[in-house]
């Protein structure tokens, strides 16, 4: 499975490393044409405002919506989760508006409140080490969204069909199970198409 990592800004190399460790092929994506050959796409952590602006500038909004229309899986982590969301709390506009959820940015506070913890995730056996950095939260989800984990009662991992989102950074650890989970989603999507 060939998984692209949107490489406008943020933790791109870490996601590529994690995808390869989980048995996939990881590539950096800087241009819309590069989406065509992919089986799945990761939108990494970074600064959502910056990533959103550059996505608009280079035509990624429509191109990724089209990618999603084809049923190809997309995984957003931290800033990537914000970029995927239908609604952003306290903001008029959102970015891709693909996943039916409302998210709150910087929901835990400033950097000094950033933390890591062991987090149970539905579909993964043992808890994953989750690194939350100025992390967002999922405040509301549509019934079609499956909640995969919560932290202090708030949603931090969710899946809606071929879309996956986490508030935290699985790419900053040596635990590749969430990336393997995403690779399975890409395999299922490819099989369904064939």
């Amino acid at each position: 499975m060939k998984i692209g990592v949107l490489a406008l800004q943020g933790a791109v190399a870490e996601h590529i490393r994690s995808i390869e460790a989980a048995g996939g092929e990881g590539v950096a994506v800087k241009r819309v044409e590069e989406l065509d050959s992919l089986d799945g796409l990761i939108i990494p952590g970074g600064e959502s405002t910056t990533i959103g602006k550059l996505m608009r500038k280079y035509g990624f909004i429509d191109a990724i919506r089209d990618f999603s229309q084809q049923g190809k899986p997309i995984f957003g982590t931290c800033a990537g989760l914000i970029v995927l969301a239908e609604r952003i709390e306290g903001q008029e506009d959102a970015h891709l508006q693909l996943m039916d959820m409302t998210v709150a940015r910087n929901a835990f506070g400033r950097q000094r409140e950033s933390f890591e913890t062991d987090l149970p995730v539905k579909g993964i056996n043992e808890p994953v080490r989750a690194v939350f950095i100025r992390a967002p939260l999922i405040k509301e989800v549509a019934p079609s969204v499956d909640v995969l984990s919560t932290y202090n009662g708030e949603i931090v991992t969710a899946r809606q069909g071929h879309l996956l989102a986490s508030s935290y950074h699985p790419e900053l650890t040596d635990d590749y199970r969430l990336h393997a989970y995403f690779l399975d989603m890409a395999k299922e999507a490819a099989a369904a198409k064939a």
Partner: protein, 293 residues
């Protein structure tokens, strides 16, 4: 639940990769920087070129500057403390700064000791002009590095020198045998374990940005070519004729640093860049890169 772990502190810097961090002196400039696509802003009273012009002792900014900037932007806000001035750093941490720059741009408070940065929850970025300096700052707990360059000059030559030196030294360390590493650790004045890590991975254990003299989109792209993970721009934006244009252009050139057509496009009609200073015209006492070690 653990806060302030090395992973949490270094992770924040990882999220800045491929981005541009801009110096701002007030809320209005911070909004311009955010709108242009900066991944973080550095809140300070004076940009480096003004610090040079003003002379005297340069200190941590008035907390009001930091608070005003934090109020208006949602991207991370950094602030500078003097080298070795751990009380300034504690004050910035208490105010909620997202990152502290223990910076040679300000007048050093301590000529011998840098801040013990491991003791803080907030992450630190420090300047370095060679591998030894870089690893000493990491040993003290820096979660991010930047080349020192020569701040406030708009002259990229020193940033290039420092980046080339660091990457060259890394290549050399990679090629040493294990028994040679002990001697090299002594030569560089760094802990053996950190040098072993560089030997094995071929890179620094934390993110390294370019800083000190970036004034044009091409300058930013050049530093990315030389291996920088991102770029700090100080005087280069708000000392140029049209800061909005310069800010946007430098962000785009950093993202697409190998796309020369795009860099040409974004470099058009930017107006006058900040006025530069030829390094040889600086008196030794005015060279900021020689502060710290």
């Amino acid at each position: 639940m653990e806060t302030g772990t090395s992973r949490v502190k270094r992770g924040m810097a990882e999220m800045q990769k491929g981005g541009v961090i801009m110096d701002v002196m007030n809320a209005e400039q911070a909004k311009i920087a955010e709108a242009a696509g900066a991944t973080a802003v550095m809140a300070l009273e004076r940009v480096p070129s003004d610090i040079r012009a003003a002379g005297g002792v340069a200190r941590m900014a008035d907390p009001t500057v930091l608070e005003e900037v934090m109020k208006v932007v949602s991207i991370p806000v950094m602030a500078k403390a003097r080298i070795g001035h751990y009380v300034e750093a504690r004050v910035l941490e208490a105010l909620g700064a997202d990152y502290i720059d223990e910076s040679e741009v300000l007048t050093p408070a301590d000529e011998v000791f840098h801040i013990s940065k491991r003791d803080f929850t907030v992450p630190f970025v420090c300047g370095a002009k060679d591998l030894g300096e870089a690893l000493r700052r990491i040993q003290e707990g820096a979660a991010m590095l930047r080349t020192k360059g020569e701040p406030g000059t708009g002259n990229i030559v020193e940033a290039v020198r420092h980046m080339r030196l660091i990457t060259g030294q890394i290549r050399k360390v990679q090629n040493l045998s294990k028994d040679e590493l002990y001697h090299e650790a002594k030569n560089l004045g760094v802990p053996y374990d950190l040098l072993l890590d560089v030997h094995e991975t071929g890179k620094l254990p934390v993110v390294n940005f370019a800083a000190g003299g970036v004034a044009t989109p091409s300058d930013a792209a050049l530093m990315m070519h030389l291996g920088a993970d991102g770029v700090f721009v100080g005087s280069g934006i708000f000392k140029s004729e049209y800061p909005e244009r310069f800010a946007r252009a430098i962000v785009e050139a950093t993202t697409h640093y190998t796309d020369y057509k795009l860099i040409a496009e974004v470099s058009k009609n930017l107006g006058t860049p900040m006025k530069g200073i030829e390094i040889s015209k600086l008196a030794p006492s005015e060279r900021m890169q020689d502060r710290g070690f």
